[in-house]
Symmetry: C2
Subunit: 118 residues, 2 copies
């Protein structure tokens, strides 16, 4: 995943309405939700919702599929996993993330003396 796409994906989720939309879709699972149902669940008016769904879609975070008069939206787990993979590598700096993922991150004063990992 290129950083350009990462920024786009992050920006897609970095907004109250869109994060709520995405969470609804994740919770709904592979069956997804119709746009109107998302509007009901989140309280976002249809026109605003459409705007945000387009953002999410453009970022690859959701897919859509017409179904009769409805449009079913689903969370794109592949993109989400790619995003998490990128962030994890960034978080871990390419090293095994033991110093990161253990609760040993709190000492603030005495870690400037540690040497940089390879």
């Amino acid at each position: 995943m290129e950083t350009k796409d990462v920024v786009t994906a992050l920006a897609a989720l970095a907004q109250d309405s869109r994060l709520a939309i995405f969470r609804s879709l994740v919770q709904a699972g592979p069956a997804g939700l119709a746009a109107g149902r998302i509007s009901e669940l989140t309280g976002i008016p249809p026109s605003s919702l459409s705007f945000h769904l387009k953002e999410l879609s453009h970022a690859g975070m959701v897919d859509s599929q017409p179904s009769g008069r409805f449009v079913i939206y689903t969370a794109n787990f592949t993109t989400m996993n790619a995003l998490l993979g990128f962030l994890t590598e960034n978080c871990c700096g390419g090293n095994p993330c033991s110093p990161v993922c253990t609760p040993a991150c709190e000492p603030e004063q005495s870690r400037a003396t540690e040497k940089e990992p390879t």
Copy 2:
């Protein structure tokens, strides 16, 4: 981690300059980098850099520590992990989602899988 904080953290990273800054700091490890060094590495002019560092700091993604005439910035791995935890739960919808951390992040023994009190 509350969704408000998640949105703030995501927004902090959802920008070219800030993602570059954060990656530099992750790569630098716990020793961190002086502001001027970040400016050199990223090519971001000092005033812009200061703006973005403040954003990152406000989001809890970086910490700073004066050191003489320098200000040393470090990535806040705790926040980053909390963010990844939230996103992983969102991505997985409460189900196991092993493919996220497989490549480089294999824990050697026991990783503290901290749960938030929500």
